[in-house]
Amino acid sequence: MIKKLSLLVLIGSLTSCVAVKEYEKVYLNDPDMILASKNAHKFETSFQVYREGSAGANGGKSGGGCGCN
Protein backbone atom coordinates (compact mmCIF):
# COMPACT_ATOMS: atom_id res chain seq x y z
CA MET A 1 0.00 0.00 0.00
CA ILE A 2 2.72 2.46 1.03
CA LYS A 3 4.72 1.48 -2.08
CA LYS A 4 1.75 2.21 -4.33
CA LEU A 5 1.19 5.58 -2.70
CA SER A 6 4.90 6.43 -2.96
CA LEU A 7 4.75 5.55 -6.64
CA LEU A 8 1.74 7.80 -7.10
CA VAL A 9 3.48 10.68 -5.36
CA LEU A 10 6.57 10.10 -7.51
CA ILE A 11 4.49 10.12 -10.69
CA GLY A 12 2.82 13.30 -9.49
CA SER A 13 6.16 14.90 -8.81
CA LEU A 14 7.47 13.95 -12.26
CA THR A 15 4.47 15.43 -14.00
CA SER A 16 5.14 18.63 -12.10
CA CYS A 17 8.11 19.23 -14.43
CA VAL A 18 5.55 20.85 -16.73
CA ALA A 19 3.83 23.32 -14.45
CA VAL A 20 0.37 24.61 -15.25
CA LYS A 21 0.50 28.42 -15.31
CA GLU A 22 -1.87 30.51 -13.23
CA TYR A 23 -3.77 31.69 -16.31
CA GLU A 24 -4.23 28.07 -17.39
CA LYS A 25 -5.96 27.04 -14.15
CA VAL A 26 -9.47 28.10 -15.11
CA TYR A 27 -10.75 24.51 -14.98
CA LEU A 28 -8.82 23.67 -11.82
CA ASN A 29 -10.26 26.74 -10.09
CA ASP A 30 -13.81 25.50 -10.61
CA PRO A 31 -15.43 25.19 -7.14
CA ASP A 32 -16.20 21.52 -7.83
CA MET A 33 -12.51 20.79 -8.37
CA ILE A 34 -11.45 21.65 -4.83
CA LEU A 35 -9.44 18.84 -3.20
CA ALA A 36 -11.57 18.61 -0.08
CA SER A 37 -15.06 17.58 0.88
CA LYS A 38 -17.65 20.33 0.61
CA ASN A 39 -18.36 22.48 3.65
CA ALA A 40 -22.02 21.54 3.57
CA HIS A 41 -21.06 17.88 4.11
CA LYS A 42 -19.50 18.57 7.51
CA PHE A 43 -22.18 16.74 9.47
CA GLU A 44 -22.29 13.87 6.99
CA THR A 45 -18.62 13.24 7.76
CA SER A 46 -19.44 13.51 11.48
CA PHE A 47 -22.04 10.75 11.40
CA GLN A 48 -19.66 8.51 9.44
CA VAL A 49 -17.05 9.04 12.17
CA TYR A 50 -19.67 8.06 14.78
CA ARG A 51 -21.00 5.01 12.97
CA GLU A 52 -17.78 3.52 11.61
CA GLY A 53 -14.57 2.28 13.18
CA SER A 54 -12.44 4.51 10.95
CA ALA A 55 -11.78 8.23 10.76
CA GLY A 56 -9.32 10.70 9.27
CA ALA A 57 -7.24 11.20 6.13
CA ASN A 58 -9.71 13.62 4.66
CA GLY A 59 -8.03 16.82 5.78
CA GLY A 60 -10.30 17.01 8.81
CA LYS A 61 -10.47 15.49 12.26
CA SER A 62 -9.11 12.01 12.88
CA GLY A 63 -10.02 11.54 16.53
CA GLY A 64 -10.69 13.42 19.74
CA GLY A 65 -13.16 16.18 20.53
CA CYS A 66 -15.91 13.71 21.40
CA GLY A 67 -16.25 10.25 22.90
CA CYS A 68 -17.28 8.86 19.55
CA ASN A 69 -14.04 7.91 17.79
Partner: protein, 477 residues
Protein backbone atom coordinates in the same frame (compact mmCIF):
# COMPACT_ATOMS: atom_id res chain seq x y z
CA UNK B 1 26.44 72.58 -5.48
CA UNK B 2 25.13 71.14 -8.69
CA UNK B 3 26.60 67.78 -7.68
CA UNK B 4 24.92 67.95 -4.29
CA UNK B 5 21.64 68.93 -5.92
CA UNK B 6 21.97 66.09 -8.43
CA UNK B 7 22.76 63.59 -5.67
CA UNK B 8 19.81 64.87 -3.62
CA UNK B 9 17.49 64.59 -6.61
CA UNK B 10 18.75 61.09 -7.38
CA UNK B 11 18.42 60.10 -3.74
CA UNK B 12 14.86 61.38 -3.44
CA UNK B 13 14.02 59.94 -6.83
CA UNK B 14 15.42 56.62 -5.77
CA UNK B 15 13.61 56.74 -2.42
CA UNK B 16 10.48 57.80 -4.22
CA UNK B 17 10.87 54.96 -6.71
CA UNK B 18 11.53 52.56 -3.91
CA UNK B 19 8.47 53.80 -2.04
CA UNK B 20 6.44 53.59 -5.22
CA UNK B 21 7.63 50.01 -5.69
CA UNK B 22 6.63 49.13 -2.15
CA UNK B 23 3.31 50.84 -2.61
CA UNK B 24 2.72 49.09 -5.89
CA UNK B 25 3.52 45.80 -4.13
CA UNK B 26 0.91 46.61 -1.53
CA UNK B 27 -1.58 47.63 -4.17
CA UNK B 28 -1.22 44.47 -6.26
CA UNK B 29 -0.88 41.92 -3.45
CA UNK B 30 -4.12 40.02 -3.62
CA UNK B 31 -5.89 39.69 -0.30
CA UNK B 32 -6.09 36.14 0.98
CA UNK B 33 -9.74 36.76 1.80
CA UNK B 34 -11.38 39.73 0.11
CA UNK B 35 -14.17 40.22 2.60
CA UNK B 36 -15.71 38.55 5.66
CA UNK B 37 -17.57 35.33 4.98
CA UNK B 38 -20.24 33.52 6.97
CA UNK B 39 -20.97 29.81 6.51
CA UNK B 40 -24.10 28.34 8.07
CA UNK B 41 -24.58 24.58 7.92
CA UNK B 42 -27.52 22.62 9.30
CA UNK B 43 -28.38 18.96 9.19
CA UNK B 44 -31.04 16.55 10.34
CA UNK B 45 -29.86 12.97 10.89
CA UNK B 46 -32.00 9.97 11.74
CA UNK B 47 -31.08 6.31 12.17
CA UNK B 48 -32.54 3.03 13.30
CA UNK B 49 -31.20 -0.46 13.85
CA UNK B 50 -31.35 -3.46 16.18
CA UNK B 51 -27.89 -3.58 17.78
CA UNK B 52 -27.70 -0.85 20.41
CA UNK B 53 -24.36 -0.92 22.25
CA UNK B 54 -25.85 0.65 25.40
CA UNK B 55 -28.00 -2.47 25.80
CA UNK B 56 -25.26 -4.97 25.05
CA UNK B 57 -25.54 -5.23 21.25
CA UNK B 58 -29.29 -5.88 21.11
CA UNK B 59 -32.06 -3.28 21.06
CA UNK B 60 -33.24 -0.22 19.23
CA UNK B 61 -30.66 2.19 17.81
CA UNK B 62 -33.25 4.84 16.99
CA UNK B 63 -31.63 8.27 17.07
CA UNK B 64 -32.38 11.76 15.81
CA UNK B 65 -29.80 14.54 15.69
CA UNK B 66 -30.26 18.16 14.69
CA UNK B 67 -27.05 20.13 14.22
CA UNK B 68 -26.09 23.65 13.17
CA UNK B 69 -22.75 25.35 12.80
CA UNK B 70 -21.82 28.93 12.04
CA UNK B 71 -18.34 29.79 10.78
CA UNK B 72 -17.24 33.41 10.45
CA UNK B 73 -14.01 34.14 8.56
CA UNK B 74 -12.70 37.68 8.94
CA UNK B 75 -9.74 39.13 6.99
CA UNK B 76 -7.60 41.06 9.47
CA UNK B 77 -5.42 42.48 6.68
CA UNK B 78 -4.11 41.32 3.31
CA UNK B 79 -2.36 38.30 4.81
CA UNK B 80 -4.18 37.22 7.95
CA UNK B 81 -7.54 35.56 8.50
CA UNK B 82 -9.32 35.05 11.80
CA UNK B 83 -11.93 32.29 11.99
CA UNK B 84 -14.64 31.67 14.57
CA UNK B 85 -16.66 28.49 14.50
CA UNK B 86 -19.54 27.48 16.74
CA UNK B 87 -21.47 24.21 16.51
CA UNK B 88 -24.43 22.88 18.42
CA UNK B 89 -25.71 19.35 17.98
CA UNK B 90 -28.81 18.15 19.83
CA UNK B 91 -29.74 14.49 19.78
CA UNK B 92 -32.43 12.24 21.09
CA UNK B 93 -31.44 8.59 21.38
CA UNK B 94 -33.47 5.57 22.40
CA UNK B 95 -30.39 3.52 23.18
CA UNK B 96 -28.71 6.22 25.29
CA UNK B 97 -31.97 6.59 27.21
CA UNK B 98 -31.53 2.98 28.25
CA UNK B 99 -28.54 3.82 30.41
CA UNK B 100 -31.44 3.83 32.84
CA UNK B 101 -34.16 1.79 31.10
CA UNK B 102 -36.56 2.29 33.97
CA UNK B 103 -36.84 6.08 33.74
CA UNK B 104 -36.00 8.78 36.25
CA UNK B 105 -32.62 10.43 36.17
CA UNK B 106 -29.47 8.44 35.68
CA UNK B 107 -27.97 9.16 39.04
CA UNK B 108 -30.46 7.81 41.49
CA UNK B 109 -33.03 5.17 42.04
CA UNK B 110 -36.09 6.81 40.59
CA UNK B 111 -38.01 4.76 38.11
CA UNK B 112 -41.27 3.92 36.45
CA UNK B 113 -42.96 0.84 37.77
CA UNK B 114 -46.42 -0.60 37.54
CA UNK B 115 -48.63 -0.98 40.59
CA UNK B 116 -47.43 -4.55 41.12
CA UNK B 117 -43.79 -3.49 41.03
CA UNK B 118 -43.03 -4.62 37.49
CA UNK B 119 -40.73 -2.23 35.72
CA UNK B 120 -41.33 -1.15 32.13
CA UNK B 121 -37.79 -1.20 30.76
CA UNK B 122 -36.78 -2.95 27.54
CA UNK B 123 -33.91 -2.56 25.06
CA UNK B 124 -36.57 -2.07 22.40
CA UNK B 125 -38.25 1.02 23.79
CA UNK B 126 -37.04 4.48 24.67
CA UNK B 127 -36.85 5.21 28.36
CA UNK B 128 -37.60 8.55 29.98
CA UNK B 129 -34.06 8.47 31.45
CA UNK B 130 -32.13 11.74 31.54
CA UNK B 131 -29.63 10.48 28.99
CA UNK B 132 -32.29 10.09 26.29
CA UNK B 133 -31.16 13.45 24.90
CA UNK B 134 -28.05 15.55 25.01
CA UNK B 135 -26.47 18.61 23.44
CA UNK B 136 -22.92 18.72 22.11
CA UNK B 137 -21.49 22.22 21.78
CA UNK B 138 -18.21 23.06 20.14
CA UNK B 139 -16.28 26.29 19.69
CA UNK B 140 -13.18 26.78 17.58
CA UNK B 141 -10.98 29.84 17.11
CA UNK B 142 -8.47 29.84 14.27
CA UNK B 143 -5.89 32.17 12.81
CA UNK B 144 -3.89 31.87 9.59
CA UNK B 145 -1.10 33.91 8.05
CA UNK B 146 -0.01 33.79 4.41
CA UNK B 147 3.37 34.96 3.18
CA UNK B 148 3.60 37.87 0.73
CA UNK B 149 4.20 35.53 -2.20
CA UNK B 150 1.29 33.35 -1.01
CA UNK B 151 3.53 30.30 -1.08
CA UNK B 152 3.48 29.67 2.66
CA UNK B 153 0.51 29.47 5.01
CA UNK B 154 0.81 29.01 8.78
CA UNK B 155 -2.18 28.46 11.03
CA UNK B 156 -3.17 27.73 14.60
CA UNK B 157 -6.43 26.94 16.34
CA UNK B 158 -7.87 26.20 19.75
CA UNK B 159 -11.13 24.38 20.40
CA UNK B 160 -13.49 23.47 23.19
CA UNK B 161 -16.30 20.94 23.19
CA UNK B 162 -18.76 19.87 25.86
CA UNK B 163 -21.54 17.38 26.21
CA UNK B 164 -23.18 15.92 29.28
CA UNK B 165 -20.59 13.24 29.92
CA UNK B 166 -17.58 14.55 27.98
CA UNK B 167 -15.33 17.62 27.84
CA UNK B 168 -12.65 18.37 25.27
CA UNK B 169 -9.89 20.96 24.84
CA UNK B 170 -8.04 21.03 21.53
CA UNK B 171 -4.96 22.79 20.24
CA UNK B 172 -3.59 22.64 16.70
CA UNK B 173 -0.98 24.09 14.39
CA UNK B 174 -0.46 23.74 10.65
CA UNK B 175 1.92 24.78 7.92
CA UNK B 176 1.59 24.54 4.13
CA UNK B 177 4.15 25.29 1.46
CA UNK B 178 3.36 25.78 -2.22
CA UNK B 179 5.97 25.64 -4.92
CA UNK B 180 6.44 24.80 -8.60
CA UNK B 181 4.25 27.79 -9.59
CA UNK B 182 1.67 26.69 -7.04
CA UNK B 183 1.29 23.32 -8.80
CA UNK B 184 2.54 21.43 -5.76
CA UNK B 185 1.63 21.78 -2.10
CA UNK B 186 2.94 20.00 0.95
CA UNK B 187 1.38 20.49 4.35
CA UNK B 188 1.75 19.33 7.93
CA UNK B 189 -0.68 19.60 10.79
CA UNK B 190 -0.47 18.63 14.44
CA UNK B 191 -3.42 18.49 16.82
CA UNK B 192 -3.78 17.60 20.48
CA UNK B 193 -7.07 16.93 22.25
CA UNK B 194 -7.06 16.79 26.02
CA UNK B 195 -10.42 15.21 26.78
CA UNK B 196 -12.12 13.83 29.86
CA UNK B 197 -15.15 11.73 30.72
CA UNK B 198 -17.76 12.66 33.28
CA UNK B 199 -18.95 9.07 33.04
CA UNK B 200 -22.55 7.92 32.97
CA UNK B 201 -22.88 4.24 33.82
CA UNK B 202 -25.61 1.67 33.31
CA UNK B 203 -27.90 2.23 36.27
CA UNK B 204 -27.75 -1.34 37.64
CA UNK B 205 -23.93 -1.43 37.66
CA UNK B 206 -23.61 1.99 39.24
CA UNK B 207 -26.20 1.20 41.93
CA UNK B 208 -24.69 -2.18 42.75
CA UNK B 209 -21.31 -0.60 43.47
CA UNK B 210 -22.70 2.47 45.24
CA UNK B 211 -24.95 0.40 47.50
CA UNK B 212 -22.14 -1.96 48.46
CA UNK B 213 -23.54 -4.94 46.54
CA UNK B 214 -26.86 -4.77 48.39
CA UNK B 215 -29.61 -5.98 46.06
CA UNK B 216 -32.27 -4.68 48.43
CA UNK B 217 -31.12 -1.06 48.35
CA UNK B 218 -31.52 1.89 46.03
CA UNK B 219 -32.60 0.98 42.51
CA UNK B 220 -33.07 -2.68 43.49
CA UNK B 221 -35.31 -1.99 46.47
CA UNK B 222 -38.62 -3.85 46.07
CA UNK B 223 -37.72 -5.11 42.61
CA UNK B 224 -37.66 -8.77 41.71
CA UNK B 225 -34.72 -10.21 39.79
CA UNK B 226 -35.54 -13.18 37.57
CA UNK B 227 -33.30 -15.91 36.22
CA UNK B 228 -33.40 -17.27 32.65
CA UNK B 229 -36.35 -19.50 33.60
CA UNK B 230 -38.39 -16.52 34.78
CA UNK B 231 -38.14 -17.48 38.45
CA UNK B 232 -37.55 -14.74 41.00
CA UNK B 233 -34.24 -15.34 42.76
CA UNK B 234 -33.59 -14.99 46.47
CA UNK B 235 -31.68 -11.72 46.53
CA UNK B 236 -30.08 -12.76 49.80
CA UNK B 237 -29.16 -16.20 48.51
CA UNK B 238 -25.88 -17.61 47.26
CA UNK B 239 -26.70 -17.47 43.55
CA UNK B 240 -27.52 -13.90 42.62
CA UNK B 241 -26.82 -11.49 39.85
CA UNK B 242 -23.57 -9.57 40.22
CA UNK B 243 -21.38 -7.63 37.78
CA UNK B 244 -18.10 -9.19 36.67
CA UNK B 245 -15.98 -6.44 38.20
CA UNK B 246 -16.32 -4.35 41.31
CA UNK B 247 -14.95 -1.17 39.75
CA UNK B 248 -15.92 0.78 36.67
CA UNK B 249 -13.46 3.09 34.91
CA UNK B 250 -9.82 3.53 35.99
CA UNK B 251 -9.18 6.94 34.47
CA UNK B 252 -11.35 9.73 33.16
CA UNK B 253 -8.81 11.11 30.72
CA UNK B 254 -8.91 10.44 27.00
CA UNK B 255 -6.21 12.20 25.00
CA UNK B 256 -5.62 12.24 21.25
CA UNK B 257 -2.41 13.25 19.47
CA UNK B 258 -2.52 13.46 15.70
CA UNK B 259 0.00 14.39 13.04
CA UNK B 260 -1.10 14.78 9.44
CA UNK B 261 0.90 15.11 6.27
CA UNK B 262 -0.60 16.32 3.00
CA UNK B 263 0.64 16.43 -0.56
CA UNK B 264 -1.30 17.81 -3.50
CA UNK B 265 -0.28 18.06 -7.13
CA UNK B 266 -1.73 19.54 -10.30
CA UNK B 267 -1.34 16.90 -13.00
CA UNK B 268 -2.67 18.84 -15.98
CA UNK B 269 -5.02 21.72 -16.80
CA UNK B 270 -7.89 19.37 -15.93
CA UNK B 271 -6.61 17.00 -13.27
CA UNK B 272 -5.25 17.21 -9.74
CA UNK B 273 -4.88 14.90 -6.77
CA UNK B 274 -3.97 14.99 -3.09
CA UNK B 275 -2.76 12.45 -0.55
CA UNK B 276 -3.32 12.68 3.20
CA UNK B 277 -1.51 10.54 5.74
CA UNK B 278 -2.47 10.73 9.43
CA UNK B 279 -0.80 9.24 12.47
CA UNK B 280 -3.09 9.21 15.50
CA UNK B 281 -2.23 8.07 19.01
CA UNK B 282 -4.94 7.88 21.67
CA UNK B 283 -4.47 7.24 25.37
CA UNK B 284 -6.88 6.95 28.27
CA UNK B 285 -10.36 5.48 28.69
CA UNK B 286 -11.19 4.70 25.06
CA UNK B 287 -14.28 2.59 25.77
CA UNK B 288 -17.68 4.16 26.32
CA UNK B 289 -18.68 3.82 30.01
CA UNK B 290 -22.41 3.64 29.24
CA UNK B 291 -22.15 0.63 26.92
CA UNK B 292 -23.12 -2.75 28.44
CA UNK B 293 -21.87 -6.22 27.67
CA UNK B 294 -23.54 -9.59 28.34
CA UNK B 295 -21.27 -12.63 28.50
CA UNK B 296 -22.07 -16.06 27.11
CA UNK B 297 -20.40 -17.82 30.05
CA UNK B 298 -22.37 -16.14 32.85
CA UNK B 299 -25.97 -16.68 33.90
CA UNK B 300 -28.56 -14.17 32.72
CA UNK B 301 -30.76 -12.15 35.07
CA UNK B 302 -33.67 -9.86 34.26
CA UNK B 303 -35.91 -7.17 35.69
CA UNK B 304 -39.47 -6.69 34.47
CA UNK B 305 -42.08 -9.09 33.19
CA UNK B 306 -40.69 -12.66 33.47
CA UNK B 307 -43.09 -14.01 30.85
CA UNK B 308 -41.33 -11.87 28.23
CA UNK B 309 -37.87 -13.39 28.86
CA UNK B 310 -38.14 -16.04 26.08
CA UNK B 311 -38.99 -13.18 23.76
CA UNK B 312 -36.12 -10.95 24.94
CA UNK B 313 -34.27 -10.46 21.63
CA UNK B 314 -37.45 -9.70 19.69
CA UNK B 315 -38.51 -6.12 19.13
CA UNK B 316 -41.94 -7.13 20.44
CA UNK B 317 -40.39 -7.30 23.93
CA UNK B 318 -41.55 -4.14 25.68
CA UNK B 319 -41.29 -4.98 29.37
CA UNK B 320 -38.25 -7.00 30.38
CA UNK B 321 -34.62 -5.93 30.65
CA UNK B 322 -31.46 -7.99 31.09
CA UNK B 323 -29.01 -6.85 33.75
CA UNK B 324 -25.50 -6.23 32.40
CA UNK B 325 -22.45 -8.29 33.25
CA UNK B 326 -20.11 -5.33 32.80
CA UNK B 327 -19.44 -2.18 30.81
CA UNK B 328 -17.38 -2.59 27.64
CA UNK B 329 -13.65 -2.57 28.24
CA UNK B 330 -11.02 -1.69 25.66
CA UNK B 331 -7.24 -1.14 25.67
CA UNK B 332 -6.12 2.23 26.97
CA UNK B 333 -4.08 2.98 23.86
CA UNK B 334 -5.01 3.00 20.20
CA UNK B 335 -2.82 3.81 17.20
CA UNK B 336 -4.50 4.68 13.91
CA UNK B 337 -3.05 5.26 10.45
CA UNK B 338 -5.49 6.40 7.76
CA UNK B 339 -4.23 7.20 4.25
CA UNK B 340 -6.54 9.09 1.90
CA UNK B 341 -6.31 9.94 -1.78
CA UNK B 342 -8.43 12.42 -3.73
CA UNK B 343 -8.45 12.70 -7.51
CA UNK B 344 -10.56 15.25 -9.37
CA UNK B 345 -10.93 15.52 -13.12
CA UNK B 346 -12.62 18.26 -15.14
CA UNK B 347 -14.21 16.33 -17.99
CA UNK B 348 -15.88 19.28 -19.69
CA UNK B 349 -17.96 22.37 -18.93
CA UNK B 350 -20.87 20.12 -18.02
CA UNK B 351 -19.40 17.37 -15.87
CA UNK B 352 -16.56 16.91 -13.39
CA UNK B 353 -15.64 13.81 -11.50
CA UNK B 354 -14.56 13.85 -7.84
CA UNK B 355 -13.18 10.66 -6.32
CA UNK B 356 -11.86 9.66 -2.92
CA UNK B 357 -10.27 6.51 -1.53
CA UNK B 358 -9.07 5.79 2.01
CA UNK B 359 -7.28 2.86 3.58
CA UNK B 360 -7.39 2.71 7.37
CA UNK B 361 -5.48 0.62 9.87
CA UNK B 362 -5.47 0.56 13.66
CA UNK B 363 -3.94 -1.68 16.29
CA UNK B 364 -7.34 -2.78 17.59
CA UNK B 365 -7.70 -4.93 14.49
CA UNK B 366 -9.87 -2.61 12.43
CA UNK B 367 -8.87 -2.13 8.82
CA UNK B 368 -11.14 -0.49 6.29
CA UNK B 369 -11.50 0.66 2.73
CA UNK B 370 -13.59 3.67 1.74
CA UNK B 371 -14.30 4.67 -1.84
CA UNK B 372 -16.55 7.48 -3.01
CA UNK B 373 -17.41 9.21 -6.23
CA UNK B 374 -19.25 12.45 -6.91
CA UNK B 375 -20.37 13.66 -10.33
CA UNK B 376 -21.23 17.38 -10.37
CA UNK B 377 -23.35 18.19 -13.42
CA UNK B 378 -23.79 21.88 -14.28
CA UNK B 379 -27.27 22.43 -15.63
CA UNK B 380 -26.79 26.21 -15.78
CA UNK B 381 -24.10 28.70 -14.86
CA UNK B 382 -25.56 28.86 -11.34
CA UNK B 383 -27.07 25.45 -10.70
CA UNK B 384 -25.20 22.17 -10.21
CA UNK B 385 -26.68 18.76 -9.48
CA UNK B 386 -24.39 16.15 -7.97
CA UNK B 387 -25.20 12.49 -7.36
CA UNK B 388 -22.82 10.74 -4.94
CA UNK B 389 -22.02 7.17 -3.98
CA UNK B 390 -19.83 5.89 -1.15
CA UNK B 391 -18.86 2.32 -0.31
CA UNK B 392 -17.29 1.38 3.01
CA UNK B 393 -16.06 -1.95 4.36
CA UNK B 394 -14.28 -2.73 7.64
CA UNK B 395 -13.02 -5.69 9.62
CA UNK B 396 -14.11 -6.20 13.23
CA UNK B 397 -12.06 -5.02 16.17
CA UNK B 398 -10.30 -7.89 17.93
CA UNK B 399 -12.49 -7.34 20.99
CA UNK B 400 -15.90 -7.37 19.31
CA UNK B 401 -18.51 -10.09 19.59
CA UNK B 402 -22.31 -9.88 19.29
CA UNK B 403 -24.78 -10.00 22.19
CA UNK B 404 -24.20 -12.98 24.48
CA UNK B 405 -21.14 -14.17 22.52
CA UNK B 406 -18.41 -12.49 24.56
CA UNK B 407 -16.40 -14.36 27.21
CA UNK B 408 -15.77 -13.03 30.70
CA UNK B 409 -12.27 -14.54 30.60
CA UNK B 410 -11.19 -12.00 27.97
CA UNK B 411 -9.40 -8.84 29.04
CA UNK B 412 -11.17 -6.59 26.55
CA UNK B 413 -14.67 -6.84 25.12
CA UNK B 414 -17.39 -4.88 23.38
CA UNK B 415 -20.66 -5.50 21.56
CA UNK B 416 -20.58 -2.12 19.84
CA UNK B 417 -21.55 -2.85 16.21
CA UNK B 418 -19.66 0.26 15.05
CA UNK B 419 -16.60 -1.95 15.69
CA UNK B 420 -18.06 -5.06 14.04
CA UNK B 421 -17.30 -6.42 10.59
CA UNK B 422 -19.62 -4.75 8.10
CA UNK B 423 -19.96 -2.95 4.83
CA UNK B 424 -22.17 -0.03 3.95
CA UNK B 425 -23.56 1.73 0.92
CA UNK B 426 -24.40 5.40 0.86
CA UNK B 427 -26.28 7.07 -1.97
CA UNK B 428 -26.71 10.82 -2.08
CA UNK B 429 -28.05 13.57 -4.24
CA UNK B 430 -27.23 17.26 -3.93
CA UNK B 431 -28.13 20.59 -5.49
CA UNK B 432 -25.79 23.54 -5.39
CA UNK B 433 -26.72 27.11 -6.32
CA UNK B 434 -24.00 29.71 -6.73
CA UNK B 435 -24.39 33.41 -7.37
CA UNK B 436 -20.98 35.02 -7.61
CA UNK B 437 -22.63 38.46 -7.75
CA UNK B 438 -24.42 37.82 -4.43
CA UNK B 439 -27.65 39.54 -5.45
CA UNK B 440 -29.65 37.97 -2.65
CA UNK B 441 -29.15 40.05 0.51
CA UNK B 442 -29.79 39.55 4.21
CA UNK B 443 -28.74 42.68 6.10
CA UNK B 444 -25.16 43.36 4.88
CA UNK B 445 -24.61 39.77 3.83
CA UNK B 446 -24.84 38.67 0.22
CA UNK B 447 -25.82 35.07 -0.46
CA UNK B 448 -23.10 33.44 -2.53
CA UNK B 449 -23.90 29.74 -2.36
CA UNK B 450 -26.62 27.35 -1.23
CA UNK B 451 -25.97 23.63 -1.04
CA UNK B 452 -28.64 21.04 -0.25
CA UNK B 453 -28.00 17.32 -0.03
CA UNK B 454 -29.75 14.15 1.08
CA UNK B 455 -27.93 10.88 1.71
CA UNK B 456 -29.23 7.43 2.51
CA UNK B 457 -26.90 5.06 4.39
CA UNK B 458 -27.41 1.31 4.83
CA UNK B 459 -25.19 -1.10 6.72
CA UNK B 460 -25.39 -4.85 6.16
CA UNK B 461 -25.82 -5.26 9.93
CA UNK B 462 -29.29 -3.76 9.58
CA UNK B 463 -28.60 -0.16 10.58
CA UNK B 464 -30.07 2.40 8.23
CA UNK B 465 -29.73 6.16 8.37
CA UNK B 466 -30.59 9.30 6.45
CA UNK B 467 -29.17 12.79 6.60
CA UNK B 468 -30.31 16.01 5.00
CA UNK B 469 -27.80 18.85 4.99
CA UNK B 470 -28.10 22.49 4.01
CA UNK B 471 -25.19 24.89 3.67
CA UNK B 472 -25.34 28.64 3.09
CA UNK B 473 -22.37 30.86 2.30
CA UNK B 474 -22.69 34.61 2.74
CA UNK B 475 -20.13 37.30 1.98
CA UNK B 476 -20.07 40.70 3.61
CA UNK B 477 -20.75 43.62 1.27
Amino acid sequence: MKKITLIAVLLFTSIGYSQASQDSTKIYKKRVLETAEVDIISSLYTQDGDNAAVTGGIGTEKLTDLATSITISIPLNDDDVFTLDGTISAYSSASSSNTNPFGGDDDDDEGNYSANGISFGSPWIESSGASKSDVWVNGDIGYSHSSDDRNSVAGANISFAKEYDYTSFGLGGSFAKLFNEKNTEISAKATIYIDSWQPIYPVELKTYIEKNQNLNAGFFNGINIYNQNGIAIDKNGATVWSPLKSSLIDTKSRNTYSFSLGFSQILSKRAQFSVFLDFVQQNGWLANPMQRVCFSDRANYYIGNPTSIPNYTSSSNKDVFQLADDIERMPQTRFKVPVGLRFNYYINELVNVRTYYRYYYDDWGVTSHTASIELPVKISDRLTLYPTYRYYIQTAADYFAPYEQLFSTDEFYTSDYDLSKFDSNQFGFGISYTDIFTKGKIWKLGLKNVDLKYSSYKRNTGLSAGIISAGFKFVMD
